[in-house]
């Protein structure tokens, strides 16, 4: 019934998306709904197709078949930049930042993508980037949300692993997306860092629809409103976390028999 009542709030809807790499089906007819105010966690063993699914939703890869819609608009086959501008932000499993820029410049450049005149518009050539007030304000908000206020001058490539993960999130937030795809934001984080990231995600949940690909089970059960389990490119269970946890096929295939 929670599903029915929040149906109007589905921001991203993937309908039977499939991705074939030659003979290998990495993602097989997977359907996912992301609703505002909810975290939809996707778990599964390595090679289950979780990151490929994220790539299909963000446009990094075009699906072989199936459809993706964002805010009611069919975005299947759109380029990543177009999907980003339509309100989807993603972070990457493998840290994907501008290493030779400072932390601030990373976030500022991310925020700039929403305010910059087109590249053929001379306004984009003659104004000075650091004086774009709305961009600075957006970057500042994202830096504060991600808790990087004290690290803004650090070179991104020289920041600690945990800080780079925070930066990933800050860059994504600077584009003010409605839908967040977070690919293992906790990967490689220490206990304290992971704890503050969980708190951040809980805060972000209120105003975003979120898909969380994650290995950390404690975090998943602390955060998830919806849970999907993937094995070998297929969804073997999907629903409320408690129900999925009780599912015998999930226990057999993924969580371990003794769970």
């Amino acid at each position: 019934m929670t599903k029915a009542s929040s149906a109007s709030e589905v921001l991203l809807h993937a309908n039977k998306v499939t991705k074939n790499f030659g003979g290998l089906t990495a993602v097989n007819e997977v359907s996912v709904d992301l609703c505002k105010g909810q975290i939809h966690a996707v778990i599964g063993p390595n090679g289950a197709g979780k990151s490929t699914l994220a790539n299909l939703l963000s446009g990094d890869l075009p699906p072989t078949s199936g459809h993706v819609s964002l805010n009611g608009q069919d975005i299947t086959g759109w380029t990543p930049e177009k999907i980003s501008r339509y309100g989807l932000g993603r972070s990457y499993q493998k840290t994907n930042i501008f290493k030779s820029f400072s932390v601030w410049d990373n976030v500022r450049l991310s925020a700039q993508s929403r305010s910059q005149p087109g590249p053929f518009n001379p306004l984009a050539w003659f104004t000075q980037a650091i004086h774009m007030k709305d961009v600075n304000a957006r970057a500042e908000r994202a830096i504060e949300l991600a808790g990087l206020e004290n690290r803004r001058h650090a070179m991104a490539g020289a920041a600690s692993h945990g800080e780079q993960r925070q930066l990933e999130i800050a860059m994504t937030l600077a584009t003010e997306p409605q839908v967040l795809l977070l690919d293992e934001p906790l990967a490689g984080m220490g206990q304290a860092e992971a704890e503050s990231m969980v708190q951040l995600l809980l805060r972000l949940k209120v105003s975003h629809a979120m898909m969380l690909v994650e290995h950390d089970m404690d975090a998943v059960f602390a955060l998830a409103d919806q849970l999907t389990v993937m094995v070998n490119g297929q969804v073997i269970a999907s629903g409320l976390p408690a129900a999925v946890r009780a599912d015998t096929s999930v226990q057999a295939a993924y969580l371990g028999e003794d769970h």
């Binding site: 963000s58 990094d60 380029t79 990543p80 930049e81 980003s84 501008r85 993603r90 990457y92 994907n96 930042i97 501008f98 290493k99 030779s100 820029f101 410049d105 500022r108 450049l109 991310s110 700039q112 993508s113 929403r114 305010s115 910059q116 005149p117 087109g118 590249p119 053929f120 984009a124 050539w125 003659f126 104004t127 000075q128 980037a129 650091i130 774009m132 070179m155 490539g157 020289a158 860059m171 584009t175």
Partner: protein, 332 residues
């Protein structure tokens, strides 16, 4: 702290003072130099504009074009065709026209090439430039392999470009103008986006940047500025031939940018001056026994650039910055 291989974007104060002094020297030069050297320095400044235009692609955006001479040469030819055999033509419309033609050519070729990456980008830019080269080389109507004479310098009304000193100052003013424009551009939203594309194009797309249109805009702008240089070259030398858009020209301008130091435009200027000066020195080398050292200038130039890239990966300007910094620290 900063990455040793990242381009030098912000110039240290000591380097700015040095460059300012060099600019003053350039402004004073016509009052002491002979006509021969005046023309040589004018040529260096024209090539500096050409090198800066390539630096926008190579140093800022990370696109290595091996066909940049096409846009340089085409503007020179534009002036040649627009100048009637018996009288001069107005500067005020031929200059924008020639630059516009180069920009248009770069827009069309850029539309096809900026979707490629890495080695493929290098190959297709070269292929298109070779096509342009042979269109002129093989067509008698376009001057063929002999090229075309330009009998008159463009008529500017306000000043007389036939006067070598005036032409010198005109070129100097344009070089400074292009430098100031590109330095501003470097810190504009567009310039920051181009730097982002150089560092991590994939992430730029995920952040919502249309990297194709950004690269196309940069390619077009670089082509237009190369055209400005090519126009000046044609006007100064009074002659254009297909070599202007040839492979050697494209390769030389890449070497100028690397030699001076990429990504800050000042390096491109320093590189163009150094390259031309070294060319002069190496070509004048004496014959030792049966071996004519000067004839093999390419060998010495090649060795020099290899040595410089190994010893100073950020070019002459990077080397100067390091030396000046060391000195400043030494004084502390």
């Amino acid at each position: 702290m900063s990455d040793a291989h990242a381009p030098l974007e912000t110039l240290p104060r000591s380097l700015k003072i040095l460059l300012g002094t060099a600019l003053l020297a350039l402004a004073a030069f016509p009052f002491v130099g002979t006509d021969y050297y005046l023309q040589m320095v004018t040529r260096m400044m024209i090539l500096a504009i050409f090198a800066m235009s390539l630096d926008l692609l190579q140093g800022v955006t990370g696109l290595v074009s091996l066909g940049h001479a096409a846009y340089f040469g085409v503007a020179g030819y534009a002036l040649a065709f627009l100048t009637p055999p018996g009288e001069p033509v107005s500067l005020w419309w031929t200059l924008p026209a020639a630059v516009g033609i180069s920009a248009l050519l770069a827009l069309v070729i850029g539309f096809l090439v900026v979707r490629t990456h890495g080695i493929y980008f290098i190959m297709v830019t070269m292929a298109f430039a070779q096509m342009v080269f042979y269109v002129f080389f093989d067509n008698k109507a376009l001057g063929g392999s002999d090229g075309i004479y330009i009998n008159f310098k463009p008529e500017a009304v306000l000043f007389d470009l036939e006067n070598k000193k005036v032409f010198y100052f005109f070129t100097l003013a344009l070089m400074v103008l292009v430098y100031v424009f590109l330095r501003r551009l470097l810190w504009s939203p567009f310039g920051r986006a181009l730097a982002g594309i150089r560092v991590n194009e994939h992430r730029m797309r995920a952040l919502g940047y249309g990297t194709f249109s950004h690269k196309l805009a940069a390619f077009t702008l670089a082509g237009a500025l190369a055209g400005l240089a090519g126009f000046l070259w044609g006007a100064q030398s009074g002659y254009v031939n297909p070599e202007l858009m040839g492979f050697h020209m494209s390769a030389h301008v890449i070497m100028m940018v690397i030699l001076g130091g990429m990504g800050n435009f000042a390096g491109a200027i320093v590189g163009a001056f150094s390259f031309e000066y070294l060319l002069h020195v190496f070509k004048d080398l004496p014959t030792v026994g049966a071996f004519n050292l000067g004839k093999h200038w390419q060998l010495w130039m090649g060795l020099f650039i290899v040595a410089l890239v190994i010893l100073a990966p950020r070019g002459i300007l990077g080397l100067l910055a390091t030396l000046l910094k060391g000195k400043e620290k030494g004084h502390d």
